[in-house]
Symmetry: C2
Subunit: 227 residues, 2 copies
């Protein structure tokens, strides 16, 4: 599903070049559930942004579902992102000017889903993450963990083939975090490919494989006992 070879990502800040990824080789099978861990600043979000076709690598090969993404233009990458990939951002990235319901409905509008069906699915997804009582709130009228759950609902509402979640439980107490992980596991059990970035061990232990990133490269690729 995902084949990456010698992926490098550099950022330029003024005169300084920061190498966030220094040659990453990663192979992820279709239907796999993978966790990525590593210290703050080690390159996890940068790697997720490249996997999710949100950012192009500076060099290296990335083949997604048999297609070499370097051959795709921006429109084609956007089409892949909208249809095949659900992305839960570390910074949520919700639209502040509209309410939760509309934020979750948005991917279905882009996907051209009929109004009645998409409203039903948005409502169901918000209910699943425990926020039906906050549907009409705007993001700035919510707690940190509630915003995070809206971002999760929005990423999953399209039932995408590939789910990329960057620190999805960072603002959640462990009970709410476990409820969210149950949703992820159910979606994974239906055959989806899932990659979770986390710094919390109880989250990573849901995965059969944990990739440890250190300073822009993979330091360890740990196979845990199958959960």
């Amino acid at each position: 599903m995902i084949t990456m070879q010698s992926i490098v990502k550099e950022y330029r800040t003024g005169e300084v070049v920061v190498q966030a990824l220094r040659g990453v080789d990663l192979e992820v099978e279709r239907g796999e559930l993978l966790a990525i861990m590593g210290p703050s600043g080690s390159g996890k979000s940068t790697l997720m942004n490249v996997i999710g076709c949100l950012d192009r690598p500076t060099s290296g090969q990335y083949v997604l579902g048999g297609v070499d993404v370097s051959t795709l233009d921006d429109n084609e990458l956007a089409a892949i992102r909208n249809r095949k990939i659900g992305f839960v951002f570390q910074t949520f990235n919700l639209l502040s000017r509209t309410d939760c319901f509309h934020n979750v409905e948005l991917p279905l509008i882009y996907g051209g889903v009929a109004r009645k069906v998409r409203q039903e699915r948005a409502r169901e997804m918000l209910d699943k993450v425990g926020l039906s009582h906050r549907m009409r709130h705007h993001p700035n009228e919510l707690s940190g963990g509630e915003r995070q759950r809206v971002a999760i609902a929005r990423a999953l509402v399209n039932e995408p083939q590939i789910i990329l979640a960057d620190e999805p439980t960072g603002n959640l107490d462990s009970k709410t975090g476990e409820e969210i992980l149950r949703i992820f596991r159910a979606l994974h059990a239906e055959g989806r490919t899932m990659i979770l970035v986390t710094h919390e061990r109880y989250v990573a232990e849901h995965a059969a494989r944990i990739v440890h990133l250190l300073d822009g490269t993979i330091a360890e690729d740990e196979r845990t006992s199958q959960r």
Copy 2:
């Protein structure tokens, strides 16, 4: 130091009234280290905003350092916030238009500290949180956990009497999180009053007392063995 009685905080969203705090009674001694835990949406950040004089309660009494804060006007509250309270926000609240160094220096500029001293202290604080190599980066050129550490550096640079930290390790791996907690503990050991909101048990266990919030009230006030 902090005496709260029957604190209620209501938010109005359209027609709906949300009672984020439903009668909180809380007493915190000078020099105490307290953790606040509770489910997502239980009112932790709202309580911290009232304690930190960022938000006024809808009703109830709040006496801070012997002063009834309801008798203070906005300028007096701002003066208390700037001089006595260091606040680490759950959403960081950094200035995006300037670099890390200037973000950390800002409280010292408000405090009227001389240029040479404040630049020395800002540099030292950024070094303490492990970010001297990112001093000239703007917040959007940093990782999530790096932004969180800049927000921590900014809250502590004034060496305030009271430190309020809302989920300070939510985006940090446990090793970086422990490094941050060492900074908090050292500041606490010098006699500061400190309140940490967290959903991570390893953070709460640094405190001798854990207050459990549930649905806007205190469900439990747990004294743990002194660490």
